[in-house]
Amino acid sequence: MEQQGLRMTETKPGPSLFKRNPPIAGEAEAIESAKAGDAEAFSKLYALHKRRVYTLCLRMLGNVSEAEDMTQEAFLHLFRKIGSFRGESAFSTWLHRLTVNLVLMHLRKKGLNLVSLEETINPSDDEAPKRDFGSRDPQLAGSVDRVALERAVASLPPGYRMVFVLHDVEGFEHNEIATMLECSTGNSKSQLHKARLKLRELLRQPEQSIQQAGLKEAAQ
């Protein structure tokens, strides 16, 4: 059954998405075989994409069990609808868009309804990053590794984390994010800026503080 509201159309991705999602060897053949119902081809496509889809779900949801459920949903949906993939965009772009839409639908079902999304992705004033009007801390350049960044992203408020992951990690454009999140483009830009400010604040703190922020976020 078609899930209500899930967009399966192939829209032309921005150039950053092509750069970030280059074709994978053997993928095109596997897609064609999967369209014909070849079980081996499904297995190959799953092996090629499971880690990125799961990591995307995990970053958006922050919960292993939900991320596994959504990974399962995304691949089942993919295999059921693979016949409609026409190759107009990179396969991984199509798959990631499908995954993002499924996760957003899941979050809306949990209470983040479409009308209030723009408001609910704004964290409270307490969580908002401080503007920089005078602190003299050392600059970040060269000091942040992947693990520290991953930890800081995980401790962001959900609305900030969502926009940061979609834009800066996955490479979606603001207008695409605005459509997906059903908010304005300006809101997407603003949320991204606040997310980066918050990350800067977190990354300049001692590591212990980031872990505490993550625990606080997980408890909410």
Binding site: F133, Q139, L140
Partner: protein
Amino acid sequence: MTSQNSKPRTSVSCADFQEQLPDLFASGSNGVPEDPTLVEHLKTCEQCSALVRDLQYIADQASLLLQPTHEPSDNVWKKIQEGLDSDRTRSAAQPGQNT
């Protein structure tokens, strides 16, 4: 309208500069302004130039996260296979109908 209102700005505060940052980053200029007043502020304000440098750095470092770091458990593929099997059973029972 007074003639004072049409005078070009000669300086901006940190607050004004930082208010422009979301659009400056979104415009593809990576936080670097074209407006001469903002350029001048960026050149002379240590705090704002450090802020722009850090935000550029964070945006650049985000690509580190593109490489997947987590793997789903084997159970996920098992459940997907079960779902696909049940699709096949259903379509075999109802030939000509797609799932």
